[in-house]
């Protein structure tokens, strides 16, 4: 295979993901509506939550809308990654996965392309959300939009890899509802996306420690700090470790054919 073949494959997978993302407009819109509801409704109700509290990163008391925005960015990435892996389960059930697997290019490379494409669609959604959040007076430093980019991409890769790993383990589309209940919601709520971890520490130690070991916590914190021109080194290290572990697990463990065909004879024959 020529080197250019890898490039053509990469751009093709990326283009397809973007085409699907844009053609399924309701998916794109709902990806924005969900965090915007949290920002406009939930944050309005809990505006006084952080009153009198100084969070070192921001330096002075901060509006709740400002605090939860990086958490909602994390939410967008999390949901988009899970939605993309859901579409992978759908592809497998509908058969289009078979076409991908007959490509002469290495499967690990095809997976990398897929991961990158998922990450880029997340990025589009995140920046669309940040543009709307600006109207709610969430205005990080202009350079913060740029410094947050690698943090958002890394988060998208981590969660995308988690999604792909789950997709290869899930046998049927119907089982994906369980992923929402047992993976997505715990990851999101056991994190500092909606409230600082000190709240948890004061309330319930067990929950606090669950937040501490949750990799999504560090995805959110890395984005939060990067958005305000700060590097959270511990969060970066955990992100790098999670990125390495989950991407390796996704590449090594990803075998859609296993769920598609193995361990049972093809139906009817």
């Amino acid at each position: 295979m020529k080197n250019s073949a890898y490039l053509f494959c990469f751009s093709g997978v990326l283009k397809r993901e973007l085409q699907r993302s844009l053609q399924q407009r309701t998916r794109f819109i709902s990806a924005l509506v969900r965090p915007l509801l949290w920002l406009a409704v939930f944050a309005a109700g809990f505006r006084g939550t952080l009153e009198g509290m100084v969070i070192p990163l921001y330096g002075s008391p901060v509006d709740y809308e400002v605090y939860i925005t990086p958490g909602l960015v994390g939410m967008i990435i999390l949901f988009n990654s899970m939605q993309s892996s859901l579409s992978m389960v759908y592809d497998r059930e509908m058969g289009s996965m078979r076409v991908l697997l007959t490509s002469p290019l290495p499967r690990s490379y095809l997976l990398f392309c897929k991961l990158f494409a998922i990450a880029l669609t997340s990025l589009l959604q995140v920046y669309a959300f940040l543009a709307v959040a600006f109207l709610f007076d969430v205005a990080p430093p202009p350079l913060g939009y740029l410094t947050a980019l690698p943090a958002i991409l890394m988060g998208a890769f981590i969660l995308g890899a988690l999604g792909l790993l789950l997709a290869s383990l899930i046998e049927q589309l119907e089982n994906f509802a369980g992923v929402m209940n047992f993976v997505v919601f715990p990851l999101f709520f056991l994190s500092p996306a909606l409230y600082p971890l000190t709240f948890m520490q004061d309330g319930n130690t067990w929950v606090y420690w669950a937040c501490v070991i949750n990799p999504f916590t560090y995805v959110v914190e890395l984005i939060r700090h990067a958005l305000y021109l700060d590097l959270n080194t511990p969060a970066l290290l955990v992100n790098l470790a999670a990125f390495t572990a989950l991407t390796s697990a996704a590449v090594l463990g990803f075998d859609p054919a296993r769920r598609m065909l193995n361990n049972r004879a093809p139906k009817g024959r």
Binding site: M1, K2, S4, A5, Y6, F8, C9, S11, G12, V13, K15, R16, Q19, R20, Q23, Q24, M94, G95, S96, R98, V99, L100, L101, T102, S103, P104, L105, P106, L110, A257, M260, L261, N262, N263, R264, A265, P266, G268, R269
Partner: protein, 243 residues
Amino acid sequence: MPVAVNIQALSHSFADRKVLRNVSLTVEQGMFVGLLGANGAGKTTLFSILTRLISNSSGNVVLFGHDLQRSPADALATLGVVFQQPTLDLDLSVLQNLQYHGAIQGMSPTDVQARAQEELERLQLWDRRHERIRWLNGGHRRRVEIARALLHQPQLLLLDEATSSLDLESRIQLIGHIRSLIKTEGLTVLWTTHVAEELETDDQVILLNRGEVHAQGKLSDLITAAGASDANHLMLNLSKSGS
């Protein structure tokens, strides 16, 4: 004649159930070969191994001189595949589906565009290239799948019960088109089916029964050897012995 497909001592099991037993067969280049067998004969398992969706438990497969296990990229590059199950992306247009396939085959966008036009025009689908697959009927969808399978100019076309969801007219058209490609493009075709009418008496046929190659040769010779009156009778006998 040079060999397109060479399968030697191929076996495969699902858990403790053996579905292919010591299968050995060859397909010569430029031939239309029917892979006939009743349900449960192992046709789809063999097809899945050829397309590397699953790995065989033992034996080896060589496609145009490339060992499928040792050099899968070279072997897979020779293949065009039409699966029994529809595999098009319903939300993308005809052209977008072909563009995606070309990309994952490593083709340049320029080549994809030129080849897509060529194949779609040949199948009278160029005017419908911007339509979403969702809005096409079953016959047209199959034609798109054929165009897609031929896009990267494979040497071997594998079709797994490609006519199973088609009406009679579409079925006749499709078979006619595939046969014409053998003459014009020098393509080798391996056609998996359990419908004997899709084959002509001069066709080379491999009869698969209970995971084993029951017989291989010209269909007319196999009918005579089995003492059957026609291809349907042959299939019926095979089904009875397989059940």
